[in-house]
């Protein structure tokens, strides 16, 4: 693994530099045609990746994974096991890179921090009353501060969907900005929970609000609702990132999360990324895949490409 792929993302914390007004965000929030967006995503999903290009894509996908466990029953033992998997996804094949980050609840951060010491893997934590976000802004800010203090390199926050759906964009915008400030040097990923936003127009609007308010990444989902990441939702968000980049010159990262459970789908996401934003985004600093079961399926595919045969699931560790 090379340095540029694995180093901690440089902090871009300089709110005055790029945070702009809500008005600008809303001005760019034109409509999205659902039929055409879904058609475009489906056509990109039909790309056929073979041989070297497949192996290259799968390894890149591994290096972009935020290996995630977000459960009430998470323990130190569970997250440490996950960290070991993150460091060496496939002990039998040193060519498989480590993942980008391990993503946990705030109380698990110290254990992850210790387990990942000496590696280039980031510690990511969900905060701000994850997953519903139905708590007070002051508590969200406080939670963010303490999580960063505990050692998180990246904070995954959720937006206030209640405020968003009732049209109170100002509140959504301000809360993101406050949490961004509380992040200090940590990177902020803003979860839109697209499954609760009802349509692509709203998803584009929420994406722009999050970016204008200071997000470093925008992320689709918590993984805790019925509809998580989909290809067309991701496409619409990538297009918003492209427009934001054109206006501000700032590159925002993208993280689809939830429901990306197999290698083929992961490759489809990478194709979508590559053909929408180009190679500047094709690295773990700019794109992440939030997933838990995806890693083993990719390992299985990589081993198949290496040995020519599929191995039993028993040969891949359950962590």
């Amino acid at each position: 693994m090379s340095e540029s792929l694995t180093s901690h993302p440089q902090s871009s914390y300089a709110p005055a530099l790029y945070r702009r007004s809500l008005a600008e965000a809303l001005e760019m929030a034109h409509g999205v045609d659902a039929v055409a967006a879904e058609e475009r995503a489906a056509s990109l999903a039909k790309r056929s990746l073979k041989k070297d290009s497949k192996v290259w894509g799968l390894k890149l996908a591994v290096s972009m994974i935020d290996l995630t466990t977000l459960e009430g029953r998470d323990t130190r033992g569970k997250v440490v096991a996950l960290c070991n998997k993150a460091i060496r996804p496939d002990p039998s094949d040193p060519a498989v890179p480590h993942v980008a980050a391990v993503c946990v609840y705030p109380t698990m951060v110290p254990f992850v921090k210790t387990a990942l010491k000496g590696t280039n893997i980031n510690v990511a934590a969900v905060a701000t009353g994850f997953p519903s976000g139905q708590t007070f802004t002051s508590i969200k800010v406080q939670e963010t501060r303490e999580t960063v203090a505990a050692g998180a390199d990246e904070i995954d926050m959720v937006i206030d969907r209640g405020a968003f759906l009732s049209g109170n964009y100002q509140k959504v915008f301000e809360e993101i900005a406050e949490v961004k400030e509380a992040c200090g040097p940590a990177h902020l990923k803003v979860i839109l929970e697209t499954g609760e936003l009802a349509n692509y127009d709203q998803i584009r609007r929420a994406s722009l609000i999050a970016m204008y308010a200071g997000a470093d990444f925008i992320k689709t989902s918590t993984g805790k609702v019925g509809v998580n990441a989909t290809l067309p939702i991701t496409l619409v968000m990538l297009e918003a990132i492209r427009d934001f980049y054109h206006v501000t010159g700032k590159k925002i990262g993208m993280k689809p999360a939830g429901g990306i459970s197999n290698a083929k789908l992961a490759l489809a996401y990478l194709v979508l990324l590559y053909e929408t934003l180009g190679s500047e985004w094709m690295n773990p600093d700019m794109f992440r895949l939030g997933a838990s079961t995806l890693l083993n399926d990719i390992l299985m595919q990589l081993k198949k490409e290496r040995t020519g045969a599929y191995q039993s699931a028993d040969y891949f560790t359950m962590d």
């Binding site: 090379s2 967006a37 039909k46 073979k50 590159k251 180009g278």
Partner: protein
Amino acid sequence: MSTTEIETRERLQPGAASSAVLWEYAPSLEATDHVKVESRYNLFIGGKFVEPHSKKWFPTLNPATEDVLSEIAEADAEDVNRAVREARQAYDKVWRKISPSERAKYIFRIARLIQEKSRALAVVETMNGGKPIKESRDIDIPLAAAHFFYYAGWADKLEYAFPNRNVAPVGVAGQIIPWNFPLLMAAWKLAPALAAGNTVVLKPAETTPITALMLAQIIQEAELPPGVVNIITGAGATGAALVSHDDVDKVAFTGSTDVGKRIQRAIAGTKKKLTLELGGKAPNIVFEDAPIDQAVEGIINGIYFNQGHVCCAGSRLFVQESVVEPVIRKLRERIQTLRVGNPLDKNTDVGAINSRAQLEKIQELVDCGVEEGAEIFQSSCALPARGYWFAPTFFTGVSQSSRIAQEEIFGPVLSVLTFRTPEEALEKANNTPYGLSAGVWTEKGSRILKMASKLRAGVVWANTYNKFDPTSPFGGFKESGFGREGGLHGLAPYVVLS
């Protein structure tokens, strides 16, 4: 490729307005070993493949490699005679007499056989015509089968199609089809004619005859009574002989406006019924409130689908002045990501130009656009050394009077014009001798309805482009032709009502 190469390669600017490639998709070629292209095809007359009276055969090429695929019989006037005679006999003795549900049975059979052989048909369509395999596989062949299925359903329901009228077939139909959608156009022509009880002599285009001849084999396999469908090959002279044959009752032609006019002159004063589906120079109109990214996809699909060899291609783009900057920028980035190359590669978006003659015509008009002072943008994609290729191209600063805004280029070349008000868009969009299709991009429903009612075009697509369905009629206004194909309307040219 190792992960370390990720950062050693040049990183692109977002939107990739550069030709550098980070992620090289390995070739993913559709297999061709299961396909049997015969070394020589004869004429399909009276249910049999017969040698041409002319004793002449001409080569047909793969435009992506310039390799000869097969030799095709050239039908002369005597061959046309034979074919029409067989069609007349089959009409008089069999096809007009059998029960409509029997006719339907045969047509359903053809539809199912096309589905069964869809893989081979798609591969040959791509090899003979140059179109990307993803298009022949996902669009041409499935739609061809769908047309047969659709019209098979009408065969025994004609009295419901035309209530309170007596419905009779016309007789012998002479049909001439173009090279841009060879099998699909054959389906558009044959299915309604057969369903209504007519017999047919069909002539495919000289550059792309193979799938039509494979369809002849399918028709044999479906055990259609001999002579009901006859497929003869050749160039313009063969077509002219067919059109002017005395015993042809109905002529259907899809192709250039120029040839269409000649056909209309040739049959003037005869009893022959005529439908023409001719050229186009379709406006694709983008309003400022359009969903921009989807509109850009629609523009791309509108003009680069099938290398722009589409009569309804959205070849004149009208953009409202307030959104010209983002639309042009996105278009420039987007044409760079189109994958041009081997049509048999499943990842190819734009294939080969159909013939050398067509390539020369495209080049001539593009040169003319540059001379007239329009600004040209072209994808910097690498083009293969052999075969006929043209990089996706568009012009900005095009004025209404430019040749590239007036003439049909029939290639991957788009002319971009601007407008300020909906009225101006309408005026400019309608200011053309053609009127086949149009596209409107806006989030405002009332504007879509207003534009659709005032655009002088046979098809108006709203927030989409190049959508086809057997149930939907297709055809032109003005010099784009007359008569409709598809849907209930597509039956009308093939029946006599009393």
